[in-house]
């Protein structure tokens, strides 16, 4: 396994063992327990399980002239209507035609529906190697091949691994037969949730020179051994330049990445080579428990080099300088520990929705009782969010309309009162919404600034009262926001508060611009006076993507909430108080 990483700053960076990855549940890395709680409460017990997919490929085509391809994998799910939705991306492995990716993908496996997945491989151009993987534009990369399969095909195999032939796909006809472009191996494992993270500092002594004339740039790769005997890389350390007695930066491993504390792990020490073929210096097999014992005995363990004549024991030793375990509290721990989630709602009453008296308006109240787009959004989304709200009283506002005899307001109380803004329960929201429609005239423009500022004020006030409260503002809108900069300013100002903002887009507008607000898909937000958002507090979901009946609805909506919540709590070292 010499080909898993190489070259360049991108290739020298640590993967998989950094504190940033641990337990934050950003959709790619860890299961989302907010989703599971909701689903279990609805009786979905046992109908789904969390699966982790890991990938490797072989025999890829060589697209670069002077060096080998730098492949990256992008995974999609294919919905019932054939629409592809991206689920995640691995890292870029440089200079390799037989890559073994470390970054894994988390998918929810539902027993009762067929989940078709599409895996596309791309060769990432050198100029993009410093960029974050999520920011890469796929049209600018070179397509290497694709493969498709159903999730159940992988699960049902005895060793949970499936090897697929990569093809160029239907779009690339021009050749009589799809050319073979290599093979992709997908391995699935059930995710184990664990709150324990171990932090280790590893050190090696007396590494041997491989070659008298070149330096040794050592790095470690830690892999886990699965039932079938395969080894799957879990993390790799950074590359240290020219050192025969290297001490690497702390490695953070969550038990769920490795299985259990007793699971056998293989630790290999390689000499970094910019060609991509790294030389194995030595290796050893230890579980986390063994490493803990090694640390307490303050002794080293000799590395071993497999040769044709058997295993040669080397002088070099591996030491575990520090070993500590910590518990990472999850979102549910905080809820159980007394944290309240406060749900707030803002509804778009701008004229672009159409005249509410006409049937083609998004605000049309059908006399037959069929809910309109806004009512459906409030019901579906509200149902999920209000599950977490303890007192079921929600501040609710409208924006972009003229209340009776007044100027245009960008933040008026939905219940029509001039003193308080709360409504009781989802029913309260529906009644307030219906009566507000009769009492206001739709106007414009679409401005989010005032509602966001008002929500931020409420979130800030809850801090003053010393209460443990996290606020979630749901904005339902039909169109693209008019003053993007003012919205960004309000978001940046609110980014350090216990607040998350979920924007649901209804109707058929093109919401591409709104995705800029969700830093998950782009860069950190910057306000007009130079302040940068402390954290990403926005999540944007187009409502048409949300189809009822599928668990993916709930996943889509709650995807980022636990991460945003935990980022806030952990940065301030706030722990749940039991």
């Amino acid at each position: 396994m010499g080909n898993c990483c190489s070259d360049d700053r991108g290739g020298r960076a640590p993967i998989g063992g950094t504190p940033a990855n641990i337990g934050l549940g950003n959709g790619n890395d860890a299961p989302n327990d907010a989703v599971h709680l909701f689903l279990r409460s609805r009786g979905y017990q046992g109908l789904f399980s969390q699966i982790q997919l890991s990938f490797s490929a072989s025999g890829l085509r060589d697209r670069d002239v002077l060096s080998k391809s730098d492949p990256m994998l992008v995974a999609y799910t294919r919905g019932r209507d054939g629409v592809l939705k991206e689920v995640g991306r691995t890292e870029v492995v440089l200079n390799s035609l037989n890559p073994k990716w470390i970054n894994t993908l988390n998918v929810t496996f539902q027993f009762e529906i067929v989940q078709t997945m599409l895996f596309c491989l791309y060769d990432v151009d050198t100029q993009f190697h410093q960029m974050e993987v999520k920011m890469l534009k796929l049209e600018e990369q070179q397509f290497l091949g694709e493969a498709t399969c159903a999730l159940s095909e992988i699960i049902t195999k005895s060793n949970r691994s499936l090897t697929l032939d990569l093809t160029y796909g239907e779009e690339y006809t021009g050749l009589s037969r799809p050319q073979n472009c290599g093979r992709l191996a997908v391995h699935a494992e059930e995710c184990i949730t664990s709150k324990t993270t171990t932090e280790m500092i590893l050190r090696c002594s007396e590494l041997e020179h491989k070659n008298l004339f070149s330096r040794t740039d050592p790095f470690l790769v830690i892999s886990k051994i699965v039932e079938s005997g395969m080894s799957i890389p879990v993390c790799k350390t950074e590359v240290i330049r020219n050192d025969l007695k290297p001490t690497w930066k702390p490695v953070f491993l969550n038990i769920q990445q490795v299985g259990s504390k007793d699971s056998p792990l293989v630790i290999e020490c390689f000499n970094f080579n910019s060609s991509g073929k790294h030389d194995l210096i030595g290796k050893l097999q230890k579980s986390l428990l063994d490493l803990e014992k090694l640390h307490s005995s303050v002794k080293g363990e000799n590395l071993v080099l497999p040769t044709a004549a058997g295993n040669k024991v080397l002088k070099s030793q591996l030491f575990v300088d520090t070993f500590s375990e910590s518990t990472q509290h999850t979102f549910l721990d905080y809820l159980a520990g007394g944290f309240e989630v406060n749900f707030m709602l803002a509804v778009d009453f701008t004229a672009s929705n159409g005249n509410p008296r006409l049937p083609d308006s998004l605000h049309y109240i059908d006399p037959s009782g069929r809910p309109n787009a806004y009512q459906r959004a409030i019901l579906e989304v509200g149902e999920v969010l209000h599950f977490y709200d303890s007192d079921k009283r929600f501040p609710a506002w409208g924006f972009g309309a003229r209340p009776i005899d007044g100027p245009v307001s960008h933040c008026f109380n939905l219940n029509g009162s001039s003193t308080y803004c709360e409504v009781e329960g989802i029913q309260g929201i529906m009644m307030a919404y219906a009566s507000a429609l009769l009492n206001v005239s739709l106007a414009g423009p679409t401005l989010f600034g005032p509602v966001i500022s008002h929500a931020a004020q409420i979130a800030g006030q809850s801090l003053a009262n010393g209460r443990h409260r996290y606020s979630v503002l749901l904005i339902i809108t039909d169109g693209v926001v008019t003053d993007l900069q003012e919205t960004k300013d309000a978001l940046v100002k609110a980014s350090d508060l216990p607040l998350s903002i979920l924007i649901v887009g209804v109707g058929g507008a093109d919401f591409k611009e709104m995705e800029i607000l969700d830093a998950d898909k782009g860069e950190r937000l910057e306000s007009s006076n130079g302040r940068v958002a402390t954290r990403d507090i926005v999540q944007f979901v187009p409502f048409r993507d949300v189809q009822s009946g599928e668990i993916s609805v709930v996943q889509e909506l709650l995807a980022e909430l636990p991460t945003q919540f935990l980022t806030y709590m952990r940065r301030r070292d706030i722990k749940p108080s039991y």
Binding site: G460, L463, A464, R531, V532
Partner: protein, 176 residues
Amino acid sequence: MSDMANTHKRSLEVTVISGEDLHINDRPIKNNAFVTVTADTRSSPSSYDSTKLNAPGESYPFWNEKLQISLPAGSRHVVIEVRRWSSSGRDKLVGAAWIPVSDFLGCYTPEDYLHFLSYRLRDANGQRNGIVNISVRVVTSSSSTSVPEFGITVDREKTGRAVTGMPVWYPNQCKS
């Protein structure tokens, strides 16, 4: 305004956490970057503190150092400057950020709130050059022995009106 009869001195605990994507002469910075924090004020002598040099991380340096400065009433900005130390003694400015005091005083949060803030750095030519991440906590210490500071901070951007003079009667002679 609350500053009117305020005998409290304000000081700030600024933790300079890290920097991102710092460049000097169009190349990522390798080492010797340090940060200075100053309260910008025209009247009182300004308070100043700086971090140590050898932060790990090259162009993404991680200082994680707590600095203390006093914040005289009337300051409107705290200035953060990232510089690169040079042995010849001529430190080069990598980038600066001017933080309005209103970003951590008197917005939605209680006064002793720990703010985590990030700012865009601009170099001597005004070009963007990375981001600095800090945390700020306002520490108010009451000091009954000191001469009360009088003055009402007027945020011109918000009010846009002329300042009204207010006659004040106090027993001690105030040294100006």
